[in-house]
Symmetry: C2
Subunit: 421 residues, 2 copies
Amino acid sequence: MALVVAKFGGSSVATAERIKNVAARLVRRHNAGDQVVAVVSAMGDNTDYLVDLAHSVNPNPPVREMDMLLSTGEQVSVAVLAMAIEALGVRAISHTGAQVGIHTDDTHTKAKISHISGDQIARDLAQDKVVVVAGFQGIDSRGEITTLGRGGSDTTAVALAAAIHADLCEIYSDVDGVYSADPRVCPKAHRLDSLSYEEMLELSANGAGVLQLRAVEFARNYGVVIHALSSFVEGPGTYIKEAEENMESDKMEGPVISGVAHDLSEAKITLRHVPDTKGVAALLFERMAELNVNVDMIIQDVSHDGMTDISFTAPLDDVERLTPACQQISDQIHAEGVEINTHVAKVSLVGAGMKSYPGVSAKMFRVLADVGVNISMISTSPIRISIVIDADQCQLAVRALHTAFGLDDASDGSDSVKVVR
Amino acid sequence: MALVVAKFGGSSVATAERIKNVAARLVRRHNAGDQVVAVVSAMGDNTDYLVDLAHSVNPNPPVREMDMLLSTGEQVSVAVLAMAIEALGVRAISHTGAQVGIHTDDTHTKAKISHISGDQIARDLAQDKVVVVAGFQGIDSRGEITTLGRGGSDTTAVALAAAIHADLCEIYSDVDGVYSADPRVCPKAHRLDSLSYEEMLELSANGAGVLQLRAVEFARNYGVVIHALSSFVEGPGTYIKEAEENMESDKMEGPVISGVAHDLSEAKITLRHVPDTKGVAALLFERMAELNVNVDMIIQDVSHDGMTDISFTAPLDDVERLTPACQQISDQIHAEGVEINTHVAKVSLVGAGMKSYPGVSAKMFRVLADVGVNISMISTSPIRISIVIDADQCQLAVRALHTAFGLDDASDGSDSVKVVR
């Protein structure tokens, strides 16, 4: 008997029929003797509908009211899922974030979980019920409804799993696990059996959309084992867990590289010919922080004659906000000007094994040079190498690296699982 | 400065555009110096959508989950209305039934309000906010979400008005007041300026759909003055208040008859040739009560040779449920059989003035006889006379009575307000 938290995203509960499928899956699990807590997102595009509704009456709706509004989406899906489970003869009970004791800070629309009281869930499980919890939402100390923002439902699931000491946190989505690359870009990509938290963090942070970065961080901090699965096809999925456990269960020497991630959602911003005086970088990135711009890679060239270039990447969504500020700083420090390139790709090689294999970056650059890809920025972590290249060369680079680092699927592809989007 | 509770039904907030209109109305009120608490139903047919969704996964959904589900409808409308008010530059705050302290018993889907704590509303009003409260819902002593069932939003509004000692409870709907008859049946019907609680109770209980019986009862018990208005057209509406107040403000001698109501939603059930022994009626109506059948009029004929007929009316919706029970009792007491007529109308003459005017019933029967309407049941209260007739004669009867009792609109009709449905 295991205690399992199972999280289902919006596409998994988009219709009454899909909700019934999720119910059937949970009931099989319950009848096999497991204790089951389901965490559910809002149905399909219901959240988009509600956001549109809000903007149609107020272009800048108050965040408190936004949370009142958006939290209804998950309340609908948990109630309907509980009904569907009961229809199959198993007792079920749904809870809002407030009812189940998911306490957050008071930052409406992007609240952080402060603590979870698992008492209610324990009582429900003791009564042999399947517990269905609204993801994405909580309650603050004043009793106000909050939402957790992007990736909130994954985070709810992982945090709940930590709070009730679940054996496993299953995350069901429309893909059947974590892949060595995005199969839409790299047809030879294969599903990974398991990954360390650190590898998953690097993949999530660098464009792999399967799991939200925030949820993976939470899982690492509390040692929650995540199992990423498809809600549409049966399959072994991907485990995300401590690297040590990987080493025990899998072969002693893991592969050098686990995957190739890519990200087309960033822009590259360059301040050219900056006088290399103290505090210029501080000035620039303090201003970006004030503007809440999520700066990713930062490169400062070696100084020539007291002049340097400063480049960084930031989300495309932030470009409009950061451009005038960069221009102003450029004028202020007498730089030559600001260059913005919105047509770039970030390609990352991720693998816990690369720590003990020197020469990975050298090989990466050689492979790319051989296929004619020009690298414009480089950044590294102990288990990742990221480069920025022209967006048009993204697919070429991902495929070349995937092959060169031995990640190509060995099978003939006949039993490969179709990715449902 | 007045403290006003204003309730808007589902059709008044069916679209973003209509919500903006409601917001504008509330803001005008607020800017004129009034303190405003709005009570809102779910948007248009949202509740129907949710009910259908529930039934598509479970033909018999658990009532607790039904309340979890349905309560989201009002939560959406209050959040969006609060946003729309804020867009007009006035501070607003929305509340669920739970947040605003509407405490109920634990009868899911038809809970009764036990008490309301007005503290939250008082705090919000003190901060110069328009307060927007979800109608139809509350919270029980275990923290579970409950809904109030039919007429719940009207009842929320009146109960809130009582709890915070509001000067007035405005009920906005798609009609501009209470009419002397249903204008769709009787084109000469006119809007009433005011009515006593008792008259409104009789009208609501006998087919007039403007206000829910339950809300009017609540208003009478707590002395809340109701003002029924249209949310689509400006107009003086109808006041419902203590009869004494009516007498003071209107002419000393009120009209004998206030209105003619009709109801096509009932069936007439007759047990024929029943042995007139003790306890037969008790047996029958105890059984109906067990089946939760809402019995309305009851007639037992004078006994002939120890035999009698027992007739009663009950909602058409209950006929399927009550028929086998009636048949069984008929067999048990050796009656001749059960006759069910689903094609009947109940027509009621209502007026506080009839108490002091003898001969109203005689005149009523004469008028109907003259136009050829056959009466099959009669029941009376001090301020009402109801008859059951063939459904085909309903319109004829209503029009004839409306004219005979001097209720026809004296105007040429050019300024009569169109009823929006």
